[in-house]
Symmetry: C2
């Protein structure tokens, strides 16, 4: 049989990162390519203990079908936590447990975006969500990222040009792929613009807990007097990715739609890990755990930045992440980073060219994303050294012509 692929997926290619991820499995490759959290931060002892106990004492409670909206005690725990730490208003909002941060984007798009609708997004942006938007036939419109968040003039121009835009997608804290944190001033202005142009915001915050420098900046959701922010959280970076758990916070009026969307997609999320998250948040030292994770990432980030400063050609620029897993470096003069990254891979160092994160897949981008959370210290040192040598060769050769 010759299958005809549905239109919604005809333009969507496999994530370059997921494909690179397979390369990264080569034990000889130094991988700065993935987005994996540092495995040493997983609270494995507690996960083992909680899982062992509940599977011994009350296995059926975590093995039978559960509710589409999520495990009720975990929903209550997360509401209390987010009300306290972020000031979220759960009189107006609802929280569902979903199957990871990716499903937050999937359910939100399913619920709100028709084929042909415009989704505004940071450029570059997390490609997993760009592909989710594409998979519903959304038209992506990029807004360039600057060192402190989106270019607001470009944002307003695009909002004016696309008055029916359905969604504005942003990762305001420690953005993937740039590592940029949107300033408080810009957050306020972004929220104002969203109100003025009546567009919903999808605030994706998987790294929010992983701040290791600078001052905390309030989430967009915490400013959300109009209930127009849909907030996506994840347990992937604070517990473990293979839990496949996240949480979605949204205006209560959307609850029936989100329930249906969840039922149609995977019925409910796995219960054992919801139970583990709840027990952990309730009875273990979550604050201490986050503090240790932050220290781990701070050290790794510092080490990578130090190496980059030492080894990279001075024409290569990069920012100073205040949290999260990534830093993006830029080749000078708009040089295309794609062939550079191919050569880096040939030399045993994996990183990701910024074009992989562009709403416009034919763009020429000069950035390349480096992940510092997964490699060991020795890998960071050696990988950055090799990349640095390549930047010199590449840029000097380019000058020659």
């Amino acid at each position: 049989m010759n299958f005809e692929i549905a239109e919604r997926l005809q333009g969507v290619h496999g994530s370059m990162i997921r494909e690179l991820f397979k390369l990264g499995a080569d034990p000889n490759m130094i991988s700065f390519g993935g987005g994996n959290p540092a495995a040493e931060t997983f609270p494995t002892a507690e996960i083992h203990e909680i899982a062992e106990r509940v599977l011994r004492e009350n296995p059926v409670s975590v093995l039978q079908y559960g509710l589409s909206e999520g495990y009720t005690p975990l929903r209550e725990t997360m509401k209390a936590y987010l009300a306290k730490t972020e000031g979220f208003d759960f009189e107006k909002n609802e929280l569902y447990i979903v199957s990871g941060g990716q499903q937050c984007a999937d359910l939100t798009t399913k619920a709100l975006v028709n084929a042909g609708d415009v989704v505004l997004t940071e450029d570059p942006a997390f490609v997993g969500c760009l592909n989710t938007f594409r998979s519903y036939g959304a038209k992506l419109v990029g807004v360039p990222m600057q060192a402190d968040g989106m270019d607001l003039e470009a944002l307003e121009r695009q909002l004016a040009a696309h008055p029916d835009a359905k969604l504005l997608y942003t990762i305001p804290s420690f953005q993937n792929p740039t590592g940029v944190t949107t300033s408080l001033e810009k957050r306020k202005k972004i929220y104002e613009l969203a109100c003025r142009y009546d567009v919903a915001i999808l605030e994706d915050n998987p790294y929010g807990e992983l701040r290791f420098a600078g001052e905390a900046v309030p989430t967009l959701k915490s400013m959300d007097t109009e209930s127009r922010v849909i907030y996506a959280g994840s347990f992937s970076k604070v517990m473990a990715p293979a839990f496949r758990l996240g949480f979605l916070v949204f205006d209560k009026s959307l609850a029936p739609t989100m329930s249906v969307a969840k039922q149609c997609t995977d019925v409910h999320s796995n219960v054992l890990f919801q139970y583990i998250c709840n027990e952990y948040m309730q009875h273990c030292d979550y604050a201490g755990h986050i503090k240790a994770a932050r220290a781990c990432y701070a050290q790794k980030c510092r080490r990578m930045l130090r190496g980059m400063k030492e080894h990279f050609h001075p024409a290569v620029t990069f920012g100073q992440p205040e949290g999260g897993l990534f830093v993006m470096a830029f080749l000078p003069d708009g040089m295309d980073s794609y062939p550079f990254v191919r050569e880096a891979i040939a030399r045993g160092v994996l990183c990701v060219p910024a074009v992989a994160f562009s709403p416009d897949e034919s763009a020429v981008c000069s950035g390349f994303r480096l992940n510092y959370s997964t490699p060991t210290d020795a890998q960071i040192d050696e990988g950055v050294r090799r990349l640095g040598a390549l930047t010199w060769e590449w840029i000097e050769n380019h000058k020659k012509g």
Copy 2:
């Protein structure tokens, strides 16, 4: 903010069953309403042992990000198992691990069905998948179920009337909600018709292992010389539902599309439970486990049928399931089962009216679905007794006019 719900979800209501499931949580309610497998069949001791061991010895291997296509050893195990037991051809086909049987339908529809496309389906059919089709804007066309499977004349008529139909959805073994098993003769004819009218088949087989009477009938996929059958399997009924794991078998040409669809949806399925499934299939007594589960369901089904025969008004008809979790009973003379079920719930017995499973939600249906896998023996006896008394009252009152 006033959110505008995307068109694809505007016509989709929450599954009546998922809503009834909440009622069923009332401890005083005798529930024949759910679709839960019998908890006593879960291999809890082995699940505990395998989880405890891997989380102690090698936790990161089951907690870090995994592959979108699934945990490689489990994919290999399932391919070998299905090649052996069902004769599937993995030269031509691929197998991915997905997040439950529901996601099999979600990914298949995402990959193949455009908004406005026709999906042919048994009538009644599993409402979870009907809602998935609806959530992609598919137009549902029902083919009435008979005691041995779809009405083939109606199927051919609808295939001729809808030459561009994209998918034919069927549960050939122990169908949800009717309990009907499609005969071998009808399976062959359904496959022939699908070839003649060039439509893909989604064969949903979550209950296939749970045969407790009659002779095994080959799957449609096992007859699939043209690779037009997409086969959906689930671990929910043979391991445990909250694993949220299933598997999808499809023509290799669809692999890139299915990978993208999976990435866009939830990246990958949870790894610990994939590991447990693989260890269980490899090192535990899977055959003995299935044998015990079959015996459990056989006993429960027999008990329910015996009670129905004894207590139900003789004008109420029902079949004899050869496996699975459900039996459907029918009120006489096309009487609407919806008010009957409401009255049954008022009397403390939960079951589901057939209209909940109809592609046409405004249909008047006489059937009501009973689940025998979840209730205890005492609940089966008492529930059937109460329902039986109600059938007498209802039908005799109806006669009086």
